[in-house]
Symmetry: C2
Subunit: 316 residues, 2 copies
């Protein structure tokens, strides 16, 4: 009976601060351990963009497609079994085809853009899409205001997708800003989820460009500071490297140590428990020295068994 | 030499007030008789719409695709060899899929919407698309301001595409308005084309919903009144019926005679020469009674030979 109680208490209130791919994997694994209805993902919208008139939300879509079991494993983004007729034609027309949008993926953006033009919020549209796709984890954009993560680089100021996709994050970054964050408001659902959660998880997403835009929305950081004891973070850096994406390079370029310790320092005052990979076991004492509990486990979720071990650590 | 002179003088300055399908056919036929570089189509934008965040210009696209030899003959709209993956998925998502957009057609709307968001005008975007598609006739949207043809019907006020596509123009209309026309400005290119044309052609498009929105843009009607002698119109009504679309039904519903005479009366004061079909030869004297020259010929362009006879009449 006590096990049942624990399960219900934890599962009803888990909130996961989420970027894209890494968060999607963690959420998929957590959905196997918990009732997915009782998991809330609070999702970054700093890399959302309007392109070709369409509102595109890459992190929301990555999580949605992954949890629907429809994500494209080969590409690492978009839908499985995708086709590219629109892009082929757009390319022939001389249009901006560097940000590739598959035919079926485009339907998501058309749906969202139409509903937004009708006055629906991004929160509402996300709920509608999740219902259609059978996604039971609750996905909440952190805000319905417009955020824009931008990069000062050797090539000048770049939008998120210019940096990430067009230049393959292969350009030196001197500063990152999240335009609009100061004036943004976390949605009521997000505020309630953070306050009511008995566990707040920071997914192993890029701390600088996935999690930080969430923390910059007024109110989010403050709740984590106040509720630090229930905050569990998973290090996205293993043995000095990011599994995917430019987190390691960006940390170095912006003066952070490229390690599980560097990331927990970036999250200073926000994390009660820091989960690091077995490869970083020798850094555990340093993390504890920051006044943070440490769990050492497998954090690479490539295999289902490992993902479940990580989930057990997150929920412990 | 005089023949050459005539050809150059006429061909350099022909301006065609254009709706969609009927105008596209006439323009395609005229392109065989004249250097297409020297034909300007002044195109209705009253049925343009923003849907799914995309700016869609049905009449411009119908003409563009037809002149590029890429129009879909079976459907009567859109591109040949089209596929429908985006629509299939949008339908599965519960999106508004009644306004069907083919995958390749969508690329046009993505291109246009992106360029408009970058500050390009509809005139510029149309020129870019035409260049890419090899269309040499100059296509000019009548205005870069937003027009919206709307219908008061038994089902309430409907947008153009709600009336035309969603309800298959199968609903009684009591009034038509072109919202925004009063405040719109004809583009400088359009004004110049109308003033410089040695011949202004009114295509056999729907007078009430294709041509009238053009005439309602301040300046257009006035030029036709002043230059009535060079205005040649082709009746879209043959033997009391429209070849295609709801022109006949709308004329009746709005109190006009459903005949070549009813249409020339609708264009009162604007037309110097009215081209009517052989089937309506018995109405020629009545048209002349309106102070309008009459040419009787074949106006159905289904066969190339007939289309060329009509062109000869237009250019005579």
């Amino acid at each position: 009976m006590s096990e049942m109680d624990t399960r219900c208490r934890v599962s009803k209130v888990i909130a996961v601060l989420s970027g894209g791919v890494g968060a999607a994997r963690l959420l998929a694994a957590l959905s196997e351990s918990l009732d997915p209805n009782e998991i809330t993902a609070i999702v970054n919208v700093g890399d959302d963009l309007v392109m070709h008139g369409l509102t595109i939300c890459p992190d929301l879509d990555t999580i949605m497609y992954t949890l629907a079991g429809r994500n494209n494993h080969e590409l690492g983004w978009g839908l499985a079994g995708e086709s590219w007729r629109v892009m082929e034609e757009l390319n022939a027309l001389g249009g901006a085809a560097w940000f590739r949008l598959g035919d079926r993926d485009l339907a998501t953006h058309l749906y969202r853009s139409q509903r937004l033009s009708e006055g629906a919020t991004k929160t509402q549209v996300t709920a509608e899409l999740c219902e259609r796709l059978g996604v039971k984890v609750r996905l909440l954009p952190v805000t319905n205001d417009v955020l824009a993560t931008v990069f000062d680089t050797d090539l000048g100021r770049l939008s998120f997708q210019e940096y990430f996709v067009r230049h393959h994050h292969d350009v030196a970054v001197t500063a990152i800003d999240v335009v609009g964050a100061d004036q943004a408001t976390a949605t009521p659902d997000v505020r309630a989820a953070l306050v009511e959660a008995s566990r707040i998880v920071i997914a192993p997403s890029n701390p600088l460009i996935s999690i930080d835009p969430l923390l910059r929305v007024p109110g989010v950081r403050e709740v984590l500071e106040q509720r630090r004891d229930v905050v569990v973070g998973v290090s996205p850096i293993i043995d000095g490297r990011a599994l995917k994406g430019p987190a390691d390079r960006l940390l170095a370029e912006l003066g952070h140590e490229v390690s599980c310790l560097g990331v927990v320092d970036f999250y200073k005052g926000l994390v009660g428990t820091w989960i690091i990979d077995e490869a970083d076991a020798d850094r555990a004492d340093e993390v504890r020295g920051r006044g943070v509990n440490v769990t050492v486990t497998t954090t690479i979720m490539a295999e289902r068994e490992n993902a479940q071990r990580l989930c057990a650590a997150v929920l412990a």
